[in-house]
Amino acid sequence: MSILLNKETRVICQGFTGSQATMHCRQSLDYGTNILGGVTPGKGGQVHLGLPVFNSVNAAIEKTSATASLIFVPARFCKSSILEAAEAGISLIVCITEGVPTLDMLEVKVRCDQLGARLIGPNCPGIITPGESKMGIMPSEIHLPGKVGIISRSGTLTYEAVKQTSDFGFGQSSCIGIGGDPIPGSSFIDILRLFQGDEQTEAIVMVGEIGGTAEESAALYIKNNVTKPVISYIAGVTAPPGKRMGHAGAIISGGKGTAEEKFAALLDAGVHTIKSPADIGRGVAEATGWG
């Protein structure tokens, strides 16, 4: 078992013929991802990486019965691409692109929820179930099939958590980069729920960042719903408050969102918190007693 993605998952790629998509789809295919084709409007009928190209997601689904889509289109087209996938009935959408306008995401998020599509990202490294399948841009060689579920807001910090849990021999069940944008398609809580229900996952690593209150909400969820050990690192404890304008940001968060508050909330939820990004593997060993 794993969450969201396995070697059977039928995947297409939107923005398939672009250079980034080409590079990462080639690597994903090598890894074993069941990519069945891609979408680039205007290039339907062509063959790319030995796979068919379609003009629309609907056309791709008709021929491939895909249920998942990996999106690499430029930021300005993400809203329409995500909505196209969700409206066509794709149930898992992973959007790698960074720089999507926040107001686009407000609308996209509501529509995906209404249509029952699970959106991961944007601005994320994607998702991987080690040894089976990946939809994303992560370096696959650092992964090891195993028992730790990883959720992270940051790309390269996810890799840090992966490498350390591999070096300790624990391995990963699935790794989900939810992305660092203000309005992510999926939250920590969405993914915590999936890991809690997944038999293969025995412990969960949650990598957060300062800003927003997603970690505080996750802490409350963990306290009431998660029985598996959770290990958490919050990046930016030592970051100084930046220059700012006005008060609205501080008012909406009611003074919350600092690293101290996040750590306090996590400790209260029984989460094993660590202060250094180099201690993630050790933290898992301590919290689980796996040694």
């Binding site: 980034q20 930021a75 300005r76 960074e98 720089g99 999507v100 306008p101 926040t102 107001l103 407000l106 609308e107 998020k109 509501v110 529509r111 490294p125 841009i137 992560m138 370096p139 650092i142 992270s152 807001r153 940051s154 790309g155 390269t156 910090l157 890799y159 840090e160 490498k163 660092g180 203000p182 309005i183 990598v207 960042e209 300062i210 927003g212 209150t213 997603a214 909400s217 690192y233 990046a235 930016g236 030592t238 970051a239 100084p240 220059k243 700012r244 304008m245 006005g246 008060h247 609205a248 940001g249 501080a250 008012i251 909406i252 009611g254 003074g255 202060k275 250094s276 990004p277 180099a278």
Partner: protein, 386 residues
């Protein structure tokens, strides 16, 4: 991206939001002529900088003579204003806004922001407008009223009416408030704003609503479709190194310490700062080279880091995912040769082509120390910086 008050008020005017008559000037010679065109005996003069807290810092004055206006202009134009929201150097004042002065009966607060928690555009209002609004928000949160805008349907007058009722506005002000609310949300959405704030929103002695101050922050990701806003960018208000970095698509923030950092990914960049401090060091900057770093970008990043002469050592921490470590290694070598780096450079490469990258560095015979782990890298760089 931040806008100046005068720019925000230009947008307010376009969206039929109530603002006073005003002029913006950049030389002291013009101020009196323009003040004469604004009828009345009292004026408000305001230094235009990208920071709040201007009033307490002397950057806003109510004046009743032309001499005082001239004095204010001479005092601030070409100088820096330091407020509690700026750093110690402050922000340069290149423009001054002169407004006719209104009689104020009451001061409210009205703001709009993207609320990450509810994933909505939220409009906030309070009777307790003015400089202590943050204190009100933390001590008496029940005095801040909030409504959320439906992302699919947009704003409606029912929400506005709800806020007006909570604010206990007089019936003559309710219609004005509904218009203001609808205009504000439409401005927010059509210009891709991240934050809009009117503090204070005044009630004049005649009982009318008036936007006395204006703060706008725009979603940088949306600037490609906001040409009018992009033209309002004022680079003089940005840190020079930060502005240079953004030209190269690098994300740089200057800090107080002496260890220069070059990292890929914002999260890992913050994590690197954390671990430097755990080992007793102090980072000189935050720098994210991004996912698409090439050797040219790495060289530019190096130049920006070293332009801060507090830097005593540099830590390069790269976890190659998209970016390949051998590309980074070549960039480091090019940069070290080209600009003659005199401080120790500690490099930790991991991930995509890390072994090849490390080999390129160790074969280079340059003074670059390769670390095998993040911990070792942090310890080495802290030691070198002492």
């Amino acid at each position: 991206m931040n806008l100046h008050e005068y720019q925000a008020k230009e947008l307010f005017k376009k969206f039929n939001m109530p603002v006073t008559e005003s002029y913006v000037v950049d030389t002291a010679e013009k101020v009196v002529d323009l003040a004469e065109e604004l009828n009345g005996k009292k004026w408000v003069v305001k230094a235009q900088v990208h920071a709040g807290g201007r009033g307490k810092a002397g950057g806003v004055e109510v004046v009743d003579s032309y001499e005082s206006i001239e004095k204010f202009a001479n005092k601030w134009l070409g100088n820096n204003l330091v407020t509690f929201q700026t750093d110690d150097i402050g922000q340069p004042v290149n423009k001054i806004l002169i407004e006719s002065c209104s009689d104020i009966a009451d001061e409210l607060y009205l703001g709009a922001v993207i609320d990450r928690a509810s994933q909505r555009l939220v409009v906030m209002a309070s009777r307790e407008g003015g400089i202590d609004i943050e204190e009100v928000a933390s001590k008496n949160p029940e005095k801040i009223f909030k409504v959320a805008v439906d992302p699919l349907k947009g704003p409606n007058s029912t929400e506005a009416n709800e806020l007006a009722t909570l604010l206990k506005l007089e019936s003559s002000q309710v219609d004005q408030f509904i218009d203001l609310y609808l205009s504000l949300v439409n401005l927010f959405i059509s210009k891709d704003l991240a934050l809009l704030e009117i503090n204070p929103l005044a009630i004049t002695s005649e009982g009318n609503l008036l936007c006395l101050d204006a703060k706008i922050n725009v979603d940088s990701n949306a600037l490609y479709r906001q040409k009018e806003i992009l033209a309002m960018r004022d680079v003089s208000q940005e840190d020079q190194r930060e502005a240079l970095a953004s030209e190269w698509d690098l994300s740089y923030v200057a800090l107080e310490g002496n260890i220069g950092c070059m990292v890929n990914g914002a999260g890992l960049a913050m994590g690197t700062m954390d671990i430097i401090q755990i080992y007793g060091g102090s980072p000189a900057n935050f720098l994210d080279v991004g996912g698409a770093a090439d050797s040219k970008k790495v060289a530019e990043a190096f130049k920006i880091i070293l332009s801060d002469n507090h830097v005593k050592a540099v830590l390069i921490n790269i976890f190659g995912g998209i970016v390949r470590c051998d590309t980074i290694a070549e960039g480091i070598i090019t940069a070290v040769k080209e600009i003659g780096v005199k401080v120790p450079v500690i490099v930790r490469l991991e991930g995509n082509n890390a072994d090849l990258g490390s080999k390129i560095l160790s074969d280079s015979s340059l003074n670059i120390i390769s670390a095998t782990s993040l911990e070792e890298a942090a310890q080495l760089v802290v030691k070198s910086s002492k």
